[in-house]
């Protein structure tokens, strides 16, 4: 019998711990597919964050390091500078990358570290049970914004790709989503490109994946995808924000 579909060889057999309908599973698969198709599993080192994807180290077959909250880009910097021949990526959520780790994110980007960052933006702290994230939308209800995010108190969301695309050190910043099959296919292309850039020594590449958290949004998986399209995509428009080698500086 012909095999028509299987998981990438670059994912372990460990069962994912993510909630039903969570898009981490899709994004893990896209990262694993990129590593597999580029043939770099043996030289890749991944950095797991703190948050829902902390146990990413159990899911990828490449070597893995688990970083303190927000520090993944600094850990990746150490890994890459120590062994430039390795391919180093981080996998981080919004709280990790855009709140506690903002300094590490911005400075690894402005140094032009030749690393790849997969940034999962679901507008909430998932692991701790649904608190306001730096990317939580104005008016969005979370455990710590029970009356909706009031920008006069809690300020405004951070648009990471827009912010990073202003930095000279950044090679590539693209925002994608995994809410539809075409968007998943586009995300797969972007993630592979972000790894290829590192192989080609082009420098800092980040792919922001607009994602869902059905559990903490209090929605079914299908409703969550609808909420993402209606609310997140207008605030976080998809597209290439910077592609230095292609001559695209800012959107």
């Amino acid at each position: 019998m012909a095999t028509v579909f299987q998981k990438p060889s670059t994912l372990t057999d460990a069962k994912l711990h993510y909630c039903p309908g969570c898009t981490h599973g899709i994004i893990h698969r896209l990262v694993a597919e990129a590593i597999e198709s580029l043939g770099i599993d043996g030289i890749t080192v991944g950095v797991a964050p703190v948050g829902c994807s902390v146990m990413a180290y159990d899911y990828f077959t490449c070597d893995m390091v688990q970083a303190p909250h927000g520090r993944a880009p600094a850990v990746a910097t150490g890994l890459k500078r120590a062994r430039p021949e390795n391919i180093v990526f981080t996998y981080q959520g919004d709280g990790d990358l855009a709140a506690i780790g903002t300094a590490e994110t911005v400075h690894s980007a402005t140094r032009g570290e030749n690393i790849t960052i997969i940034f999962v933006n679901n507008a909430i702290y998932g692991m701790t049970g649904g608190q306001m994230a730096p990317t939580t939308l104005p008016g969005q209800v979370t455990q710590t914004t029970p009356y909706g995010r009031d920008t006069s108190i809690a300020g405004f969301p951070v648009r990471v790709c827009e912010m990073l695309s202003t930095l000279d050190g950044v090679e590539y910043a693209e925002r994608v989503s995994v809410d539809t099959v075409p968007n998943i296919n586009n995300a797969a292309r972007a993630i592979k490109k972000a790894f290829q850039n590192q192989i080609d020594k082009k420098g800092f590449s980040i792919v922001e994946v607009v994602s869902t958290c059905p559990t903490n949004w209090g929605l079914t998986p299908v409703e969550a995808l609808g909420w993402l399209r209606e609310n997140m995509l207008p605030y976080y428009p998809l597209g290439v924000y910077k592609d230095r080698s292609a001559g695209k500086e800012t959107k």
Binding site: T12, F60, D63, V65, R71, A74, G78, L79, R81
Partner: protein, 350 residues
């Protein structure tokens, strides 16, 4: 014969680290340790190494975490307020069983404190360099020469026991110039089969991690680590004794303070007071047994520090109920030999 060079303590530390095979240094400016970064920035590119200035002490220690994970010999340095920032990373490094060297050139505290020499971070270095059950190897050199020698030991023992090591000095040792002869010693760099450096299809993936959600797993790992600590306590204790054999008054001091105390001991002896000095070189593991032995027949014990009294806790534990007196200056004030001598004379009269 090896060359004798006049150098600042901070520069000697940096040069020794390069000679010990460190090629990845991650720094952040803070007085009074900045010469280490400056020296590394100048020398590393000439030996094929890396000096990288991080955006913060927090980032620097996490770069060390990454480089150590990759299996290379790596180091960072800072001073008291900066070490406070590094404690998160140090805890993760300890919890991930990674070797590295951290330099602390102490200054006065708390808060921004001051920039003059201090020993007020003894508790931080030996008891609480971050959250969780763990220890660092803590070396307290007292001369520029010893600063240089200790770097080799710190790297080798950190790798042997897979744990972070700290060289714990102060602004006086960092800034003072003394002649130094670098040890003619080839660095012994061990194999690191556990490193996250790419499996090359030759092994299953290595995971560098400090997260264990099952309490049984975490307890087992912490206990295993503490079994290593027990070995270290038996085999790696270092100290120096000066005129303790017949001493009536035992002084205990470390680092730069020990040199001041040594002068006071010599002065006391010239006045017919039998004083002696025990100088811990490792603050963890602490030379408790040596102190107990040296204090067995003394009439008084005096601990001298540039703090309000921190190591004195460990001295009291070591001597089991005997009275231990304390003399300290803090805030960046260096005790004088005359002040220490006055304390010794008072104890002699008691």
């Amino acid at each position: 014969m090896a060359e004798r060079i006049l150098m600042k303590g901070n520069e000697a530390l940096a040069e020794a680290a390069i000679r010990a095979g460190c090629r990845h240094f991650f720094g952040y400016p803070i007085t009074p340790q900045t010469e280490i970064s400056a020296y590394m920035a100048k020398k590393m590119p000439k030996v094929g190494g890396l000096y990288l200035q991080a955006e913060s002490e927090v980032a620097a220690i996490n770069m060390v975490l990454g480089a150590a994970s990759a299996g290379v010999r790596t180091m960072t340095s800072s001073s008291s307020p900066g070490i406070s920032l590094k404690t998160e990373g140090i805890s993760y490094i300890a919890g991930s069983d990674l070797p590295c060297v951290i330099i602390d050139i102490q200054r006065g505290g708390p808060g921004l404190g001051g920039i003059q020499p201090s020993q007020a971070d003894y508790w931080q270095a030996t008891k609480a360099t971050g959250h969780g059950d763990f220890q660092l190897l803590v070396f307290a050199p007292s001369t520029v020469q010893e600063m240089a020698n200790t770097v080799f030991d710190a790297f080798e023992l950190a790798e042997k026991y897979r744990m972070p090591a700290m060289i714990f000095a102060d602004g006086m040792l960092g800034q003072m110039m003394e002649p130094v002869t670098f040890p003619e010693r080839e660095p012994e760099i061990s194999e690191k089969p556990w490193a996250a450096d790419g499996h090359k299809g030759q092994r299953t993936h290595n995971i560098i991690n400090s997260l264990y959600l099952q309490p049984q797993d975490l307890e087992r790992l912490v206990r295993e680590r503490f079994e290593r600590y027990d070995v270290i306590k038996k085999t790696e204790v270092r100290y120096d004794e000066f005129m303790t054999e017949d001493a009536d008054i035992l002084l205990v001091a470390y680092g730069a303070t020990a040199r001041i105390v040594k002068s006071a001991v010599v002065e006391a002896r010239s006045k017919g007071i039998k004083a002696g000095l025990l100088r811990p070189i490792t603050l963890w593991p602490f030379p408790s047994e040596a102190i107990a032995a040296a204090a067995a027949n003394t009439k008084a014990i005096l601990c001298v520090e540039m703090s309000m009294g921190q190591m004195v806790d460990d001295v009291r534990l070591a001597v089991g109920g005997k009275q231990v007196d304390f003399f300290g200056r803090t805030g960046g004030i260096i005790p004088t030999p005359a002040e220490v001598l006055a304390q010794i004379e008072e104890l002699a009269r008691r």
